[in-house]
């Protein structure tokens, strides 16, 4: 790790002021510290924003406003999250370990960077995300954990956060504050696809800080859940994960919000699957057809081709489970 200066911000305004020099914000440190220790990232200045307000407030409409400094563990344990947003509670609890969840923050987790082994191997591997233009060693290497959707010739790294997959399915919005004031961005539009600029991962502007996340109320009668498939029972990143919200009225799907993890460079909102479901009878074969529709665009590699079928099966099973729970 390269030596750096450390500041702890006492307020959002102070954090933004300190960031004028181009410093990097630090949340729980569960990812950024790793990246710095591995020399993937080097920063001369760090601004700790983990001591900024960390509240979870219910809105009048029945939604939630979550401060960016809320710990993942606290969010997962929050009674409203557990009762109304099981998809989020479950996603959070499948991530990392209890110790890490107790440190990690919501804001930091949105900015979690890929676990691509070639991205992490600063000395020994090429990576367009780290050094634009030098090439990608993952494409011809071990790509079991890499994208089958949304990748590009330059980058097939996946976004590793479980929380973000749930947030994408919940149509969460991310609150940002920068020198030019505040704005809100849908979580699903916050991360970019790599294209030919895999180093640009989000729409966040220089010096801009994530201050919170907002969740709209769940519609009455909807159900949600999260399923993560991985190589060991715990403490492993997703091969495929599915976050889904389903509402069925009179046997027909009236609401379907589905997001996938482990398969794409960003939390992947499965719009094609959703479109194939809305208004259709809530039947297993329709679920499978919707999954097929979503994965039609997949571009698998030898190391991850199995994820196409795995994703289809998991989507189908998750929707089936939600239907059963409802009945």
């Amino acid at each position: 790790m390269i030596p750096f200066a450390y500041h702890r911000a006492g307020s959002t305004a102070e954090a933004l002021e300190l960031a004028r020099s181009g410093a990097r914000f630090l949340g729980g440190g569960t990812n950024l510290v790793d990246l710095m220790r591995q020399n993937v990232e080097a920063h001369s200045e760090i601004i700790d924003v983990s001591k900024l307000p960390a509240t979870i407030v219910e809105t009048d409409e029945g939604g939630l406003k979550i401060d960016a400094a809320v710990r993942n563990g606290d969010l997962a344990a929050h009674p409203v999250v557990r009762a109304r947003y099981p998809v989020l509670a479950r996603a959070l609890l499948t991530g990392a370990s209890a110790q890490i969840r107790n440190m990690a923050t919501v804001g930091g987790n949105i900015l979690q960077r890929t676990r691509c082994a070639y991205f992490y191997d600063v000395e020994g591997a090429r990576c367009n995300k780290r050094r634009p233009g030098e090439g990608c060693d993952a494409r011809g290497g071990f790509n079991r954990y890499h994208a089958i959707l949304g990748g590009s010739a330059d980058c097939i790294a996946v976004h590793p956060s479980d929380m973000c997959v749930a947030l994408a399915a919940l149509d969460a919005t991310v609150r940002l504050r920068g020198q030019n004031g505040e704005r809100s961005v849908p979580l699903a539009a916050f991360h970019r696809l790599p294209g030919d600029q895999p180093d640009l991962e989000t729409v966040l502007e220089t010096g801009e800080l994530i201050t919170g996340v907002e969740l709209a109320p769940m519609s009455k009668g909807s159900r949600s859940t999260y399923r993560k498939v991985r190589d060991r029972s715990s403490y492993a990143f997703a091969l495929v994960s599915v976050a889904a919200v389903l509402k069925v009225d009179d046997g027909r799907v009236t609401e379907a919000r589905i997001a996938l993890g482990g398969v794409a460079p960003k939390p992947w909102r499965a719009g094609r699957a959703e479109a194939a479901l809305i208004g259709q009878p809530a039947l297993a074969e329709r679920f499978r057809a919707a999954a097929e529709a979503e994965l039609e665009a997949s571009e698998p590699l030898p190391g991850n081709a199995f994820k196409v079928e795995l994703a289809k099966r998991t989507i189908t099973a998750v929707l089936g489970d939600l239907l059963e729970t409802r009945a």
Partner: protein
């Protein structure tokens, strides 16, 4: 050399075959087999409290004045030459005291290789260390940075820029397989074993199976990273090391640095797991060399990635097993051959083909293995070297044969149970494999297994059961020595440069020495972990307990002789010889007249001696040439496999062990369970991803290399036959490694039973079952 060894071992076996068994070590069963007081009881580990309190100091925790911290720069090419370094930035980085490369490293001799005939060496890479510009593998240490803090050293190491001239490397297994070599020997066995015509035997068999099994690179992940803290005092060297071969390391270091034996001291009181990984590697040599140049003490604690780059793992294997049987299931042919990887500078063959030589009777055998040479870090021993991958292949094949023949897998093993060693013909010292199966099957509920695969279900999960044999050879090392000191307060000290990696060495030998000497365990202190103590062979090959026991036995015989001499004639023991007495209640008593007794304290005081000290040594293990001595296990696994995702969960696991007497049920159970958990990892998740393009391991971390987590491990049931081995000290064979053997096969067989699908390539990941 190796062919000569074949001849020597062959002749020795023949000659010793003629020698009466009771002339050999273990010829007369150890009387402690019957007379157990502390042995067999659940004593907690004597080092436990200090570890829980954090008072046990490990190698990287040794306090030392004026310490410099080391960080390594590893090569990023697999083969080539270093044509210079850009060091300016690193040199001027804060706190940097020294940068050592091949350009300024002191001259050092290559480390002598470890071998079965040379216990005075450790480490299995024979390359000179940092003596030239050559790069032999991706990850080789090419520079050492010393700084005032670890953080400064790490930061500066990242600033070292090597310049390479890259050469073509052999990193592609399939390409390298075109040129293989075939060693003459494996350990002490002939590599190629042919009995009868196995090809014909297979061809004419009523039932046969013939398949290829593969196991991947697996890497050591002991929780304590390799670490060493070293200090020079003039020409004297002290090394605090995480080490499982202390004396071998000490001797090797004298050779590398041209020092005399009394100039090097290696100290290793506690080791946080080793499993074969912790011998002599480059990091100790480089830390010592750098300390010499810097004229300051040095500490290196390797990074987790560094452990993957610069210390070895278990070689991958590719094994063909063909089994043929007659209609009744009797084996007509066992063919086992294949490949493992070994770079030219490694001396460690992954001897997977030893397993099948003693397990089952067969009319014909053809067994041989070959070496594929790749440019990698020297592969090394990993828990149950050879036997872990070998048992996977053989025991899956047995399950396949059982299925093909329509015979219950346990019944197939019963049908092929040999009366004597099936390949070299020696008698078994003790063998209770079928008993292990019997009690294991009853306890596990084997009769609930459906003989037809893919039948049982539990909701969305398919359920299957499998079993497999585990085995590991008994090994007792010659030359293990202990000093037994008994003082006039009646307390004993057992001292040896042996090793405590957490398995309970000091605890069990305290129990042993107490029983041997007729003392209370509280009056026995076991001192280990220092090369200044009497010579100890390595903690490897599951040999340490038996070897130490043998040395303590020998010391106690000398002790009795000397004490009876000291006792003289003015004692109830007058005229008695060692064989007439029993050591009991802190003294000697005549065997058939327990009233003729005198305590050690009384004898010493009368002789005006404050203490008596003798050294005992483990004699040559000739019994290994007379008898076939192996531990066995019957492993039972139940798995559940998700219909949707192919995810595999081991829902039950039972190990039924036949390892002779169990000396301490508590420490033994832990060791068996630890091995079995490693077996779960081997079966389901462990694989070091070796990128054939670069020769680099791409998952060199605990988050990416998947060892089992708690949730992967079910309640594990451990039972044993407890039948003593009359040829082994204490009636006990080693138990350190057998736990892992057979587990991967039992799980793979359970997967077949659940799904009808054979997965012959480890690890069994969910994509193979979709």
């Amino acid at each position: 050399m190796s062919r000569i060894q074949n001849t020597i071992v062959g002749s020795a076996r023949k000659i010793i075959g003629w020698v009466p068994a009771d002339w050999l070590p273990g010829g007369k069963p150890d009387d402690l087999i019957e007379r157990r007081v502390s042995l067999g009881s659940q004593m907690s580990r004597v080092d436990g409290e200090n570890k829980v309190r954090g008072a046990a100091r490990f190698a990287a925790e040794t306090p030392m004045e004026g310490l410099l911290y080391a960080a390594f720069v590893h090569s990023t090419i697999a083969r080539g030459r270093i044509v210079g370094f850009s060091l300016t930035k690193a040199r001027t980085a804060p706190g940097v005291a020294l940068i050592m490369t091949h350009e300024n490293a002191p001259r050092m001799a290559p480390p002598p290789p470890i071998s079965i005939t040379n216990p005075k060496a450790a480490g299995n890479s024979t390359l000179p260390v940092m003596q030239n510009a050559e790069v032999h593998w991706n990850g080789q240490i090419i520079a050492v940075v010393l700084a005032e803090t670890q953080e400064q050293a790490d930061a500066a190491a990242a600033l070292v820029v090597p310049n390479y001239e890259t050469a073509t490397a052999r990193t592609d297994y399939d390409a390298a397989k075109a040129i293989v070599s075939t060693p003459d020997t494996l350990m002490i066995e002939k590599n190629h074993l042919a009995i009868g015509d196995a090809t014909k035997g297979l061809a004419s068999a009523a039932v046969s199976v013939d398949a290829i099994y593969r196991t991947p690179w697996q890497w050591h992940n002991p929780i304590e990273l390799h670490a060493t803290t070293v200090r020079w005092d003039g020409d004297n060297l002290t090394v605090y090391d995480a080490n499982q071969m202390i004396h071998g390391t000490m001797s090797s270091l004298t050779a590398v640095f041209s020092l005399a034996k009394n100039q090097v001291r290696v100290i290793s009181p506690f080791v946080g797991g080793a499993f074969g990984a912790k011998g002599l590697w480059n990091h100790q040599i480089l830390a010592i060399a750098a300390a010499k140049l810097a004229k300051r003490p040095v500490r290196i604690m390797m990074t987790r990635a560094g452990v993957y780059r610069a210390t070895g793992g278990r070689s991958p294997t590719e094994q063909r097993v063909a089994l043929g049987a007659d209609a009744s299931g009797r084996l007509e042919a066992i063919i086992h051959n294949g490949y493992s990887v070994k770079p030219g500078h490694s001396v460690c063959d992954e001897a997977f083909s030893l397993t099948a030589r003693s397990l089952y009777r067969s009319r014909t055998f053809d067994i041989v293995q070959h070496v594929v040479e790749l440019d990698t870090v020297a592969n090394t021993f990993m828990r149950a070297p050879g036997e872990a991958p070998g048992s996977f292949a053989i025991e899956c094949a047995m399950d396949e044969l059982a299925h093909a023949a329509g015979i219950d897998p346990i019944e197939l093993r019963r049908i092929n149970e040999p009366e004597k060693d099936p390949t070299h013909g020696n008698a078994f010292s003790q063998r209770g494999l079928l008993k292990a199966y019997e009690i294991g099957a009853a306890r596990f509920g084997w009769d609930e297994r459906s003989p037809t695969p893919a039948i049982r279900r539990d909701g969305g999960w398919r359920v299957g059961m499998g079993c497999a044999t585990g085995s590991f050879p008994y090994l007792r090392m010659a030359g293990m020595s202990v000093r037994l000191t008994l003082s006039d307060d009646g307390k004993a000290i057992i001292a040896s440069g042996a090793h405590e990696m957490g398995m309970g060495t000091t605890t069990v030998q305290r129990q042993h020495a107490a029983d041997r000497l007729g003392l209370d365990p509280a009056d026995v202190d076991v001192q280990i972990g220092d090369s200044d103590l009497p010579f100890a062979t390595m903690a490897g090959g599951s040999s340490q307990t038996a070897s130490l026991a043998s040395a303590i036995m020998s010391a106690s015989e000398k002790f009795a002789t000397e004490m009876l001499r000291l006792a003289g004639n003015d004692t109830p023991l007058a005229g008695l010889r060692p064989r007439d007495v029993v050591l009991v209640n802190g003294g000697f008593a005549k065997i058939d007249e327990p009233d003729r007794f005198e305590s050690y304290t009384s004898i010493l005081r009368r002789a005006r001696r404050s203490e008596i000290s003798v050294v005992g040594e483990s004699p040559a293990p000739l019994e290994l040439l007379k008898f076939s001595m192996h531990s066995h296990s019957a492993i039972f696994a139940e798995v559940r496999i998700s219909d949707v995702t192919g995810e595999i969960r081991v829902s039950r696991l039972l190990g039924s062990f036949d390892c002779g007497h169990i000396l301490n049920p508590k420490t033994a159970t832990s060791q068996f369970k630890g091995g079995m958990i490693m077996g779960i990892g081997m079966a389901l998740s462990e694989e070091a991803l070796f990128d054939a393009r670069s020769g680099r391991i791409m998952n060199a971390s605990l988050s990416d290399y998947h060892v089992p987590v708690h949730l992967d491990v079910p309640e594990i049931d451990v039972i044993w036959t407890g039948i003593p081995d009359p040829r082994a000290p204490l009636g006990a064979r080693g138990i350190g490694e057998i736990g892992i053997t057979g587990v991967a096969a039992a799980i793979a067989n359970a997967v077949f039973n659940a799904t009808g699908k054979r997965v012959r390539e480890l690890p069994i990941t969910l994509d193979k079952l979709l």
